[in-house]
């Protein structure tokens, strides 16, 4: 398969028309295979376009899986969904930043009804079937159990609100972690308005408790940019990935976290990091002359994430976060070091910014 815009359009069409999971699986395998041999595209300036294409394909797979699962539920005698619902993607999928092999981070919101338990039972069954079918398609389940079939992440609008409020009140490390996860949520399927209601509530709660932003800082800057004091990469010292840098946690996630925090503190509601950067510039939070530098940094992280690739484990595509700098050309290495420094400066800026807010 040659990768061009037309291919993506056709692929998405095929996904949309598939009515068996086995068909979806074979389309997924084709997709993986075709990208595998196109590593060079990740170096190009057009990375953000590729990122959009790749994420649209994943979205198509997930959407079609939910649709087919809904149909199967009827076929199996479970009936149609008893209420409206929103199926949410969190994590990198929520930010439109999936690699070729992201795991499942998802949640589900359904309407408030009197027979809550019955409804919940339906949606938990529904969600677990969606999760299982996505596993069939090669999407690994979430290690952290942030998944639509888990009790915590499959709840009614009212329960969601209560839970969010409780997290805000509690403000423990774990609660803050959940709040930051929810900050990247988007609705991929179902009734968007349920999600928008919960999201509006999330922002109200935050507006009422600006101090929570301070608690969020700790989590936001917890991952250090993997650049040593001598300007060297900090690499794995042992094991399979010896000499590699962790591009996910040592480069990409720190940037994501900083822009998420800035977005939350400035009321920017979009979830994609590149859009967050754009809007933060427009809001005058980040100096405009740095727009290009931040964009470049983030796009490089996206491309390196794709370069790091994935492994095929037990029939699933599992992302690899480690990348050996030896695979990079000299100017790419130089660029990465510059961008890691930029990320470190950004982390400092976030911390300073909070200090300033507090004194105002």
């Amino acid at each position: 398969m040659v990768l061009d815009v037309e291919t993506f359009v056709k692929l998405k069409q095929n996904i949309h028309n598939a009515d068996q999971f086995i068909q979806l699986r074979s389309l997924r395998d084709q997709f993986q295979l075709s990208i595998q041999h196109n590593e060079q595209i990740f170096h190009k300036d057009s990375i953000s376009t590729w990122n959009v294409h790749i994420n649209e394909v994943h979205d198509a797979f997930i959407t079609r899986t939910i649709e087919l699962t809904e149909i199967r539920m009827v076929g199996e005698g479970q009936g149609p969904p008893p209420t409206a619902y929103s199926y949410l993607l969190l994590g990198s999928a929520g930010r439109h930043e999936q690699t070729m092999a992201s795991d499942q981070d998802s949640a589900l919101i359904f309407e408030n009804e009197d027979n809550l338990e019955e409804i919940k039972e339906y949606f938990k069954l529904f969600a677990s079937k969606i999760v299982a079918n996505l596993i069939e398609l090669g999407y690994p389940p979430c290690d952290g159990k942030v998944q639509s079939n888990e009790d915590l992440w499959c709840q009614s609008v009212e329960e969601w609100k209560k839970k969010l409020e409780a997290w805000y009140e509690d403000a423990s490390w774990e609660s803050i972690r959940y709040l930051l996860i929810v900050a990247d949520a988007r609705c991929i399927y179902g009734n968007d308005s349920l999600f928008l209601e919960v999201k509006a509530f999330y922002r109200e709660c935050l507006a009422a408790r600006p101090y929570i932003l301070e608690r969020m800082i700790e989590n936001t800057v917890q991952h250090k940019m993997l650049l040593g004091v001598f300007g060297q990469f900090i690499t794995d010292r042992y094991g399979e990935y010896m000499g590699s840098i962790d591009v996910k946690y040592g480069a990409y996630i720190p940037l994501v976290n900083c822009f998420r925090w800035l977005a939350l503190s400035e009321g920017v509601t979009t979830t994609s990091t590149l859009e967050r950067i754009e809007q933060l510039m427009q809001a005058g939070v980040l100096p405009e002359q740095e727009l290009i530098a931040y964009r470049d940094a983030f796009e490089q992280m996206l491309s390196l994430r794709l370069m790091a690739g994935y492994e095929y484990v037990d029939g699933m595509y599992e992302g690899v976060s480690k990348l050996n700098p030896k695979r990079l050309e000299a100017d790419e290495i130089k660029r990465l070091k510059k961008n890691l420094k930029l990320g470190r400066d950004l982390q400092r800026l976030v911390m300073k910014r909070y200090a300033r807010r507090r004194t105002v």
Partner: protein, 451 residues
């Protein structure tokens, strides 16, 4: 107040009439007694360092080998005592024989006088004990190369040869009036004699044994085999650090004019500098302040200052320690790159730092202190002369090569004749079970064994 003081003085002179009205002969006796006690104390401190080695090696290796590691250390010290008494001491310090420049001869099955003899400043038995403790330390350093995969039998065989011949020959060259001593080699308490010798034997052993199962991947990249108890490792360093004052300060073998305190002082500075430098360099280079590296840094500082503790100014002791701390960090990386498995970092801590410490003398030794100790001369910085530096390099090279060849012959023959390494199965089960039949941590491990 004055009354009280006078009263106290009066009482003291009643209790210690000798001290108050000592004759010259009594004073000499007192000096001999104090010196002997000091050496005895130093011997006890150095012997106690074996406790440090038990914790160091056990902490740095896996649970399944813990009992074996601890037990074999005690056992080989026991065996070393007999071997050193029968043969080793005579090779190191025997003064007879026509080849005195290369090997000592005499005093086998050492039978010391029961008291101080005319012209001696301490009983020879206490000197024997002190020297035996050094030999046992060097032996325990060598075990670093054996760790987690050598047969128990090979420990026995190697002890026989190392304590009777290999170690004593080097000790003779530098401390027993051998040819390096004639050249003026400075190794106050054994950076070369004790530490480098042990480390070279460890190197030969680890090369002949090959790495532990799972240490290196097929592509040659190393895996980290974590030790099972970092608290043990930290405690081991404290024990060794304390013991080191017996090692270095005790090597004055006299109370004398109080020079032993100065030796302890430089020792302390270098140890501190080694730990600080190692922590900082690991932090700067790998992004994490690595505890194992820091602990190795303290030990490397101690090993390095062992040769030079009596020869250098305080500032130089700090520099020697700092460099040792950085050196040990890069040395560990280097051995891993060379695919040499060094489970308890003996090659880096005792080998590289031992070499550095010995050579450092040629750079930092001062003329005044060299005169005071009466060995060699000042180093490059103080005198501008390369002579001492050359002598130091010479002792490192010759001692290193001798120990390497001798160990290679002993271990190579042993490997061919009786086998050196346990079987793969035994190694996986652990030496506790394969060599001794019981686990060091029975409750922890028997469950997994059944499962």
């Amino acid at each position: 107040m004055v009354k009280k003081t006078l009263l106290a003085l009066g009482l003291i002179s009643m209790i210690f009439p000798l001290a108050a009205y000592a004759s010259e002969a009594d004073l000499a006796n007192l000096t001999i007694g104090l010196d002997s006690l000091w050496i005895m104390l130093a011997f006890i401190l150095v012997l106690l360092m074996q406790g440090g080695f038990i914790l160091l090696e056990a902490g740095s290796t896996r649970m399944k080998n813990a009992g074996h590691v601890a037990g074999k250390t005690i056992f080989t010290v026991a065996l070393a005592a007999l071997v050193y008494w029968a043969v080793g001491y005579g090779v190191a310090f025997g003064s007879g024989g026509g080849l005195n420049a290369f090997i000592g001869w005499g005093e086998f099955f050492f039978n010391p006088a029961t008291e101080v003899l005319e012209g001696e400043s301490f009983p020879s038995a206490v000197f024997f004990l002190f020297q035996l403790a050094f030999a046992a330390i060097s032996l325990s350093i060598a075990w670093g190369g054996f760790a987690e995969r050598a047969k128990l039998g090979s420990y026995i065989v190697f002890t026989l040869f190392y304590v009777s011949f290999i170690y004593p020959v080097v000790a003779h060259w530098i401390w027993g009036g051998g040819w390096l001593a004639d050249h003026g080699a400075q190794d106050f308490a054994g950076s070369t004699v004790v530490h480098l010798s042990g480390a070279v034997a460890a190197l030969v052993a680890t090369i002949l044994l090959k790495p532990r199962i799972g240490k290196f991947n097929k592509d040659g990249s190393p895996n980290e085999i974590l030790g099972h108890n970092q608290v043990y490792t930290a405690l081991s360093v404290l024990l060794l650090w304390v013991g080191w004052f017996g090692f270095n300060a005790g090597s004055t073998v006299a109370i004398g004019d109080g020079f032993f305190a100065y030796v302890g002082f430089t020792t302390m500075l270098a140890a501190g500098a080694g730990g600080v430098a190692a922590l900082l360099i690991s932090w700067a280079v790998s992004g994490k302040a690595d505890i194992t590296t820091m602990l190795n840094g303290v030990l490397a500082g101690l090993v390095a200052i062992t040769a030079s503790c009596a020869f250098v100014d305080p500032w130089a002791a700090v520099v020697i320690g700092l460099i040792a701390g950085v050196l040990v960090f890069y040395s560990v990386k280097m051995f891993e790159k060379l695919k040499v498995d060094d489970p308890i970092y003996a090659l880096s801590v005792h080998g590289m730092a031992g070499i550095w410490g010995t050579i450092a003398n040629g750079i930092f030794a001062t003329q005044a202190l060299a005169d005071k100790v009466g060995v060699g001369q000042g180093g490059l910085i103080d005198t501008g002369s390369f002579k001492q530096l050359w002598v130091q390099i010479e002792s490192v090279v010759f001692a290193g090569v001798f120990v390497a060849i001798a160990s290679f012959i002993v271990l190579g023959i042993m490997k061919a004749v009786m086998g050196f390494r346990v079987t793969e199965e035994q190694e996986i089960v652990g030496l506790d079970l394969s060599e001794h039949g019981v686990y060091g941590y029975p409750e922890q491990l028997s469950k997994t064994e059944k499962a």
